[in-house]
Symmetry: C2
Subunit: 478 residues, 2 copies
């Protein structure tokens, strides 16, 4: 089988990005469709990516004082109804449990779409004094939202995520914490996933149902579209009032706490696919790759090759996530393509001549570069190469984000950009939701965020021409 | 507040074990009741125990080739109905989702009580050839069973668990793997949780709905009752036939695979509480304790004490899970009791005189022994002490299990034992379910298992007096 034969099965990324995406999800063994409509299975290779994200994120969370817990997956309807904006935002898209065993339930239960309501009822029991604050708890769990159109990892009726929920003494402290989590998310996505993000505040129109302020990290995909990669909400006392989460403050008076919530989900796997992938398939950043290096023995029918390859495996797998491909029913060429498609950061080729010469060949997935490395140096050299790949992948994305970020001063300019090009467009905005609506209607782009790093691009609104002091980044979204 | 005042709040363990249990769950901050009837919240301290179990178990699983994945939490009713025994076993106790958003679903969905059915449909898609086998996948997830009576950790409408599902080429291989997982579970429970277990095969009456053979590890609690701590099922080709999980075998013919499934759950936290706890509260084995050592500064109003205590913390928390109790609104006596109640394996006292003498006092939770340790030796000495505690706790449980394991030759003897005493009772059994039923009716005891290590206690059935070749262990259960 020729080297290119296998790759042809993947749709060209420039021709049909959506179909390319689905091809990668299925052919790289990340996920699969199921008999439950709108639900996918995350396969072991995809799940291992999620495990690496969890591990990294969980360590970062613990550094800022987060403890994990677990709350019920079913929430009584009456609880969901307690916070007005929240129920309006979520009620249309939840799954309802109406029967337990053969009996009809007295009150319907909702399968959590998010857990603010049930967690707030617990916090009301647990919090009594300012000494109990801040309370900083996270849960790793599944959530269900009855989406109409679904795509693996990006929008499915069930997904896995973490949701952190904190309570603080003051609004300012909640505000500070919700912004701190954006810094944490930025680190996870940039350092681990090698995807640069834009961080900022959501507009009133785009914020979370029940939040005072929503902050987000926004990433740019291969086609220039935006993907909301993580959000952090300061819900002020909206939930704490509705659920009576009150405490005795330092002055001995009863007051309501201030709540934040923040989450990232298995959507991040979609972000990895769409930010890094190419026509050869998935491309995984070494730090998050389940298999960082795959050893492919050349002429594997020769016993010595297998012996030396296994020796190399044992030498490397103390420090790295390494596997060996000993499948005897596939050609070497097929294996090369297969591992490129699965996004393995490097493959290590070892054949009879290499062994003779005391070296191996390390092939980079990102640049296709072949590097000859002495066998007694491979342990250290591999680290160097993986670090370079991680850094190179980040900078490639950063370069794209810079290239595809433009400025618009008028609605015509904005429309023109989105007709020919996707990307982030910076523009001044008056703050009126009517302008936001109009821009969405004529360009299909949403306000991604009001970036923390503001620039002065003039003082008139890109849409209505009235006075404007706020720079917004617009983009079409996933 | 005197040293005993605090402890008085816990029900005496010998007077009302059930109430003692609930006291510990709530007062040691392990779990709490919620507004969703029959559902509990696992609080951070309880969840941290689960995280330690997960981490240990996951590493053991990976050693036998297990990979993790994630399958949908909702299963179409038609799938549940495909395996006859399975649906009969589970249908009466499941939660039904009937509506998504505002629309009634065409087909009801069941919130997974276990995932054999949905996983088998995926395996049918994934498995084609003997080369795809064995397939060894596990998922960590929540499951829901509509229990009528609930108790935190032991029996709740939702619990967390892992469920492994494998497919093999032959029945023998499936049999071998299902028994291998019992060895893994035994290690987890004995080595990590310091609870000795009895391992064996379930009787036909007690086996899993859909299994050919069910194996279990059974633990004995403080009151002598049994707790099923983990199960492993060889379901043969029951599910693979029902879901057409077929493959081309080495002879090129199509055949059905052989399936196993196995699980442990947050029930193990209940086992820890009930196997080790005493009248001072929870008692956690060091290996699974979220906080292995708690530093309690004596005369903490003195600056030097706090400085030296923090120094000790920093010295120890690289190697151990250590925290410091600097709460200024509680007395030292209260703190001592509080940490004993929370089951911390040791507390480390450090006061002005100790600092002067260059030592600290380590107090063991299991024996109340006070050990004076030089500050420059504490790092190594702590390991020694924690190891001793772990070992001592295991042997205490083992001693109890030995003492409370008796032999019965007749139904009268069996009845007599269960009237005066709980525990494991060994007896010969003819294999007839009628005898099992009769024993259950007259003693309240179930056949726990047919132990792998059989003994010959005679050759007549304890119940009917007919010929018997099988030794069964009976016990009342949680």
């Amino acid at each position: 089988m020729g080297n290119n034969e296998f790759v042809k099965e993947i749709t060209n990324i420039e021709e049909d990005f959506a179909k390319w995406y689905t091809d990668i999800v299925l052919k790289a063994d990340l996920a699969d469709y199921t008999d439950t409509k709108g639900f996918v299975t995350i396969k072991p290779y995809g799940y291992a990516i999620w495990e690496n994200i969890q591990k990294y994120a969980d360590e970062e969370f613990k550094k800022v004082g987060v403890k994990n817990a677990y709350f019920p997956c079913l929430i009584p309807e009456s609880l969901l109804n307690k916070e007005k904006e929240h129920v309006e935002g979520f009620a249309p898209e939840v799954a309802w449990v109406t029967h337990g065993g053969s009996e009809k339930l007295e009150e319907r239960l909702v399968l959590r779409p998010t857990s603010e309501t049930i967690i707030a009822t617990m916090y009301a029991k647990w919090i009594h004094s300012w000494r109990d604050l801040p309370l900083i708890i996270n849960q790793w769990c599944n959530v269900v939202r009855w989406e109409k159109e679904t795509r693996p990892f990006l929008r499915t009726r069930e997904f896995l995520w973490q949701e952190g929920h904190t309570v603080h003494e003051t609004f300012e402290e909640a505000e500070e914490f919700s912004r701190k989590m954006i810094v944490v998310y930025k680190k996870i996505i940039e350092d681990l996933l090698a995807i640069p993000v834009l961080e900022g505040k959501k507009t009133e129109k785009e914020k979370f149902a029940g939040a005072v302020n929503t902050y987000a990290v926004e990433a740019m995909m291969h086609d220039g579209r935006a993907l909301q990669a993580g959000t952090s909400h300061n819900t002020g006392d909206n939930f704490t009032k509705a659920f009576h989460v009150a405490f005795q403050n330092r002055e001995g008076k009863e007051q309501f706490g201030y709540h934040t919530s923040w989450g990232v989900s298995t959507r991040l796997i979609g972000a990895i696919i769409m930010a890094h992938g190419d026509n050869r398939g998935l491309k995984l950043p070494p730090k998050v790759a389940p298999i960082q290096a795959i050893i492919v023995p050349i002429a594997a029918h020769k016993e010595q090759v297998v012996v030396e390859s296994k020796k190399l495996l044992n030498q490397l797998n103390q420090k790295y996530r390494v596997e060996i491909d000993l499948r005897d029913n596939y050609s070497t060429g097929y294996k090369f393509n297969d591992w490129e498609m699965r996004g393995g950061p490097v493959r290590i080729e070892l054949g009879p001549k290499d062994i003779e010469n005391g070296h191996c060949i390390i092939v980079r997935r990102d640049t296709a570069e072949k590097i000859t490395v002495k066998l007694n140096e491979v342990e250290n050299k591999l680290k160097e190469i993986l670090d370079q790949i991680q850094s190179n992948m980040f900078h490639s994305c950063m370069e794209r984000m810079k290239q595809k970020t433009t400025i618009a001063h008028t609605l015509e300019e904005l429309e023109g950009i989105f007709e020919t090009n996707q990307g982030f467009v910076k523009a001044m905005w008056c703050g009126d939701v009517a302008c936001e609506d109009k821009i969405k209607e004529s360009t299909g782009a949403h306000a991604r965020c009001i970036p923390f790093e503001q620039e002065n691009l003039g003082n008139t609104c890109v849409c209505c021409g009235k006075e404007a002091n706020t720079m917004v980044v617009f983009g079409r979204q996933y």
